[in-house]
């Protein structure tokens, strides 16, 4: 009986064996790249908002403190998104006729909340607490990036678990003095590790990596 396959097909089968390893590897790499891409993570993607609020202007140029709007960041899990009233403290005085601010005025007038698009979101099975991080010397910009330079706000980090653990395993790489936590233009000193080790001790920072720290 004649061979079904010509012997040249051996090469194809051999190549496909090596090829499958290569293809699987490529597929894995592609998935990883997709997973890390802005498409998937929304990192560096400026999100459209009902009012084009600029942190760059308010924080970078005017020098508003983070806590002026995000009032509960020091004592609650949730940092707080400012109520319309907070916007109106200034904007009932300045830029009172700006078309851009009409949704804010409408909200205040009609007693209807502004529906902002969430920029930094965690899955529902993750329980993150702002207050403890801020109290232990984790600066706002460590996670939220250079907010003072964002005309529209974007996510600065992936917020993946590996990213969380990076700091939870070695907090000395990121912590800063409590006085600098809300400094929007803070740059880590050259001796960060040294300073970090000192702060870890001083602030009693723990290296919490067990599951129920965040999942419950």
């Amino acid at each position: 009986m004649a061979q079904i396959f010509h012997h040249s097909t051996n090469l194809i089968s051999r190549l496909s064996i090596y090829g499958s390893v290569f293809i699987l590897g490529l597929l894995g790499y592609a998935l990883y790249e997709i997973g890390m891409s802005p498409y998937y993570t929304n990192v560096n993607v400026a999100r459209e908002q009902p009012v084009p609020f600029s942190h760059k202007h308010h924080v970078g140029e005017l020098g508003l403190d983070c806590r002026y709007c995000h009032t509960s960041v020091e004592n609650s899990s949730f940092a707080g998104v400012p109520p319309t009233q907070t916007c109106m403290t200034c904007h009932s005085q300045i830029w009172t006729n700006a078309a851009m601010l009409e949704p804010v005025r409408a909200s205040y007038r009609d007693d209807k909340s502004i529906s902002w698009t969430r920029v930094n979101a965690l899955p529902d099975f993750v329980y993150f607490d702002h207050s403890i991080h801020v109290n232990k010397g984790v600066g706002c910009t460590t996670c939220h990036g250079a907010v003072a330079e964002m005309p529209l706000t974007w996510r600065a980090q992936t917020l993946y678990m590996s990213w969380c653990l990076d700091c939870h395993r070695a907090p000395e790489k990121y912590v800063r003095p409590r006085s600098e936590v809300f400094n929007p233009v803070y740059t880590a000193p050259a001796n960060q590790i040294q300073l970090g080790m000192k702060l870890v001790e001083e602030y009693r920072i723990q290296r919490l990596t067990n599951c129920s720290t965040c999942h419950r």
Partner: protein, 1015 residues
């Protein structure tokens, strides 16, 4: 009837062999159920398989096509589910932020829950305006920080999607405005005297509501105010009338009582003040060591209750037999004017004189309590005994009644029915209650009601009564409305709303205001303005008083003052013949309030429906409960469907044989067989009100029990999750099973002789044996101690856990498959004879073993150990292999076989605790020691740069426990309460020889029986 053909029949067990078996071990053996004793196949399956019915979830069978569909779907889901992109979320901040709310931090408000008119003080957790969790108010005299199941479950009723959501007019949707107009017209017609106006309320202790109704009656002098609810406590009131000539309120001080006799009273779990009483009672069961003193409790009752279970001596007696016992006891303790011959009756000669002697030895520090089911004479005799024993003013005192107008409620309702039938009722306004369902059968209330020309009903549900009325007004839940109510001692609690009425409901105050022509006045003003006229404080001082009272939840120093009152010397004058019926065929029926759904008002509450009831562990049903001998006499067994006949009336019910039930008596709980309860409650159980009559509303003779030949399937959790003490039968030969009872008990005498009785030498020998160096727990080390001496089996922990941890309800069929999701269960163990076993409760939750067997078998690391000793469950990692629950010797893990959490009903979103994940299908879950509370406390302490204080973390079960039986804390701190408890000699672990090193340990029970009484 359950439609599940797959579940196994509840076996009829052979009683003779059971008795023989129980006699074998000198009565020292603990057992959980009759099925266990008879070693039925069903029981073995539950023992060996945690979820024996899991292969049968496709009852209709499955075909090839479906398998292919499922395979394709699961392949697609497996591939894709990991690739979902996080959805875009919206943040919707306030326009103007309300004061005090910090987003993400809960607030607590004080309020009160009225039940049968009596208030229990609560602190309700509010998550950004949503009430989510109920705790007790530590400063409220009726709570002292504890709660009961009804308070814990009240939030579910608040969000119940089946609640009445709108005003109805003759079955069509109407509006509040239309109702107000209609009532305005009715006022014109009723003017000037209000002839034919009837107002029917439940028990009213609210001074402000009573004042409103009185005002209305002043305007319409011919109108009448009537009160009725099944739990109306008529016997207690009539008993006081018999003893004192007028109704009074009786307040007990169980903390001062060394010896307590309960005459069919379940004072630990029902009646006014039961939460407080559980605290007081259990405080006398706390032990520091062998030298501690214990109180002693004697109980005579027909149906075993929580109070009977914790008693040192319990005698099961039919309901009607308690009266002669009360008489004999009264005579024995020297109540004047009684026949002393009765003491020698053979039925009680062996123990009653000893009980009497014990009482007399503790003059002024003993207490006799009569139960609501018992006739007025028993109550009067209890009053007389307390007076004769010098207890009044010490362990018991009297005040003016709590009710604004104390009336005999059955007579009140009879009055109404007569007027209805006489055509005298122009307008009937029913404020709360459901008399069409729960009025005595002989009143024929439904047909009578239709004779009223204008019928108005207000209630939480559009129920049996609502549908027969012209107008139905959706009532506001107590968490939505302003009101006030008295606690068991008369303290006035303020009921303040946690949320504006979700369905725009209206309170009784507002409806009465409409009737009184004050439409538009809101509940807050009605209540506050009333108190403004009543209080001595004026203007600013009143404002301050009001604010303080709101903050505290009650008005300080408003408890009713003690009154000095003595019983008549001739209360039992007419009782010349006190004897027990000797007719062996005489059967009685005893009606009781259901321990879960009460009188039916909570029938649509899934948490309460699915709560395994004390002793029977029955869920989703009531049953004709009877003793083994009674069942045998009628040729029936558990699961038989019988006809219960009383004179010309009958109802049907399934039978459950209850160990320790009195012979010659059948107990049928009220609150079931609802026709219009809602999606949850409709059609569950059997309606006792079909045969319950006004002449004998609690205990009635002449019951007929007839077998129908049909079977009824109950969902009983008693032997589900049973812990296998014997191992597999095949291994029994090789493995020498020593006695490692899960409940450990000694009498006070035995305890004093051997303080280490709870520690077994076999277990001590293997303790700490390991090849590996142990993990060193530094810093915090969480642990729990449960004092079995204090636990009263009230189940508040179970519902509290369900509420705190978003635990779903699974339904009757799933419970039958062993899939109830409770993270904490209260195991019931019996010891001794079938007729009157000792009963022991043991709350079992995750043991948080240091060497946890579940952790090592998880293939995906979803269950792990924290450095603080928590056995953690990470839902988002869990793939549902169920290896962990297979390997858990304590059977505390629960698996979401189906999507049990309700993700669809919007009203239930508000109920959820935002700090706990709502689990999905295919995920294992279990007790976390309320890790969300631990984390919150740790974060707070870290921010304040200090250690977590002892008592700062209170788990949900611990917080709810009225008996303070559960203590949680840091066992590394030798001064913590939990460490001190664990240091006691009574401390032991379950299955210690497995070397799992549980963090949850138990303090053994110590009984204090009277050494003079031999049983």
């Amino acid at each position: 009837m359950s439609a599940d053909p797959n579940s196994k029949l509840p076996n009829s067990v052979d009683l003779e062999s059971l008795r023989a078996k129980l006699a074998e071990g000198n009565g020292k053996r603990f057992w959980q159920s009759l099925e266990e004793l008879s070693e039925t196949k069903e029981y073995r399956e539950f023992l060996e398989n945690e979820f024996p019915a899991n292969a049968e979830s496709h009852a209709e069978g499955i075909n090839r096509r479906e398998i292919l569909k499922l395979a394709a779907a699961s392949a697609a889901l497996a591939g894709l589910s990991a690739c979902t992109k996080l959805p875009t979320e919206k943040i919707v901040p306030y326009v103007k932020p309300p004061e005090e709310i910090i987003p993400g931090r809960p607030l607590f408000y004080a309020t009160s829950m009225p039940l049968a008119g009596v208030a229990t003080g609560l602190l309700v957790e509010s998550q950004m305006g949503r009430p989510t969790k109920v705790e007790g108010n530590p400063e409220h005299p009726g709570s002292l920080g504890g709660t009961d199941i009804f308070a814990q479950a009240s939030v579910l009723t608040l969000y119940d999607p089946d609640r009445s959501q709108t005003v109805m007019l003759e079955g069509r949707i109407s509006s509040w405005g239309a109702f107000v107009t209609a009532m305005g017209n009715a006022r014109v017609q009723l003017a000037p005297k209000g002839t034919g106006l009837r107002i029917l309320t439940e028990t009213v202790t609210s001074p402000s509501l009573a004042a409103q109704i009185r005002g209305l009656l002043a305007e319409f002098p011919e109108a009448k105010w009537l009160q009725y609810e099944p739990c109306g406590r008529d016997n207690e009131r009539e008993g006081a009338r018999l003893a004192f000539g007028r109704p009074v309120n009786t307040v007990y001080r169980f903390d001062k009582a060394d010896v307590i006799v309960s005459l069919d009273s379940d004072f630990l779990s029902s009646g006014p003040g039961h939460v407080r009483y559980a605290r007081e009672f259990s405080s006398r069961r706390a032990m520091q060591g062998p030298s501690s003193q214990l109180n002693r409790l004697y109980v005579v009752e027909s149906m075993p209750t929580n109070t009977g279970a914790i008693a040192d001596h319990r005698w099961p007696r039919a309901g009607h037999a308690v009266r002669p016992i009360a008489y004999a006891l009264a005579s024995a303790v020297g109540v004047p004017g009684l026949n002393s011959e009765v003491i020698k009756h053979t039925d009680w000669a062996e123990w009653l004189p000893m009980v009497a002697r014990d009482l007399e030895r503790h003059r002024g520090s003993c207490l006799v309590v009569a139960g609501e089911q018992q006739p007025p004479l028993v109550h009067a005799l209890a009053h007389a005994m307390n007076a004769a024993l010098g207890n009044v003013g010490k362990t018991v005192y009297y005040t003016e009644p709590l009710e604004a107008i104390p009336v005999n409620q059955i007579e009140s309702l009879r009055d109404l029915v007569n007027d209805l039938n006489g055509g005298k009722v122009e307008a009937l306004v029913i404020l709360g209650g459901n008399p069409v369902y729960d009025a005595p059968a002989d009143f024929e209330f439904g047909p009578a009601l239709l004779k009223a020309k204008l019928r108005v009903h207000s209630g939480l549900y559009y129920d049996e009564t609502g549908e027969l009325c012209h107008w139905h007004v959706n009532a506001a839940h107590f968490l939505e409305a302003w009101s006030d109510a008295r606690a068991y001692d008369g303290t006035i609690g303020i009921i303040q709303p946690l949320i504006t009425p979700i369905y725009d409901g209206h309170s009784a105050h507002e409806i009465v205001a409409v009737l009184a022509g004050q439409a538009g006045k809101v509940g807050h003003d009605l209540v506050r303005d009333y108190w403004k006229t009543q209080r001595p404080e004026k203007d600013k001082a009143f404002d301050a008083f009001w604010e303080t009272s709101l903050h505290d939840g009650f008005m300080a120093r408003t408890a009713l003052p003690e009154i000095s009152i003595a019983p008549h010397p001739d209360i039992a004058k007419g009782e010349t013949r006190i004897e027990i019926s000797r007719d062996p065929m005489a059967m009685e029926i005893v009606y009781r309030l259901d321990p879960a759904v009460f009188d039916g008002r909570f029938a649509n509450n899934g948490w309460l429906q699915e709560l395994p009831k004390p002793i029977t562990k029955l869920t989703w049903d009531n049953a004709a409960m009877m003793s083994a001998a009674t069942a045998q006499k009628h040729g029936v067994a558990t699961g038989d469907y019988v006809k219960l006949g009383m004179a010309t009336r009958e109802t049907k019910a399934g039978v459950i044989v209850v160990p320790g039930h009195a012979d010659g008596s059948v107990t049928l709980h009220l609150g079931y067989g609802r026709r219009r309860a809602g999606n949850v409650g409709t059609g569950t159980g059997f309606n006792a009100n079909f045969i319950r009559t006004s002449t004998a509303p609690w205990i009635a003779g002449g019951l007929r029990v007839e077998k129908t030949g049909d079977k009824y399937y109950f969902a009983v959790t008693q032997h589900q999750y049973s812990i296998d003490l014997q191992g597999h039968p095949a291994e029994q030969e090789s493995v020498e099973a020593f006695r490692r009872d899960l409940v450990r008990v000694a009498t006070l005498e035995e305890f004093r002789k051997d303080p280490n009785f709870a520690k077994l030498p076999e277990e001590e020998a293997t303790k700490g044996l390991t090849l590996y160096p142990g993990f060193k727990y530094e810093g915090y080390s969480w642990g729990m101690a449960i004092d079995l001496n204090r636990c009263v089996g009230c189940n508040a922990c179970v519902i509290a856990c369900q509420s705190e941890n978003n635990i779903p309800v699974v339904g009757k069929e799933q419970v039958m498959r062993g899939r109830a999701m409770h993270w904490i269960r209260v195991d019931t163990y019996f010891r001794g004879a079938l007729e009157n076993p000792e009963t022991y409760y043991e709350p079992v939750l995750c043991m948080h073993c240091e060497n946890a067997p579940c952790e090592v078998v998880c293939p995906v690391g979803a269950t792990t150990h924290s450095p603080e000793g928590l056995n953690e469950m990470t839902y988002n990692r869990c793939v549902g292999t169920r290896y962990c629950s297979n390997n858990c010797p304590y059977k505390v893990r629960r698996f979401n076989f189906l999507l049990f959490s309700d993700w669809k009903t919007p009203s239930l979103y508000g109920l959820r605790n935002p700090n706990v994940t709502v689990r999905s299908r295919g995920v294992m879950e279990k007790c976390t020691y309320c890790v969300q509370r631990i984390n919150a406390a740790k974060i707070r302490s870290e921010e304040e740069n200090r250690e977590v204080r002892d008592g700062e973390i209170v788990t949900a079960c611990q917080a709810a426990c009225p008996a303070e039986a559960i203590v949680f804390g840091n066992i590394n701190d030798p001064n913590s309460r939990v460490a001190k408890l664990k240091a006691q000699s009574r401390n032991y672990s379950l299955l210690d020889d497995l070397n799992t090193r549980p963090r949850t340990t138990y303090l053994a029970r110590v009984r204090n029986p009277n050494p003079d009484i031999r049983e």
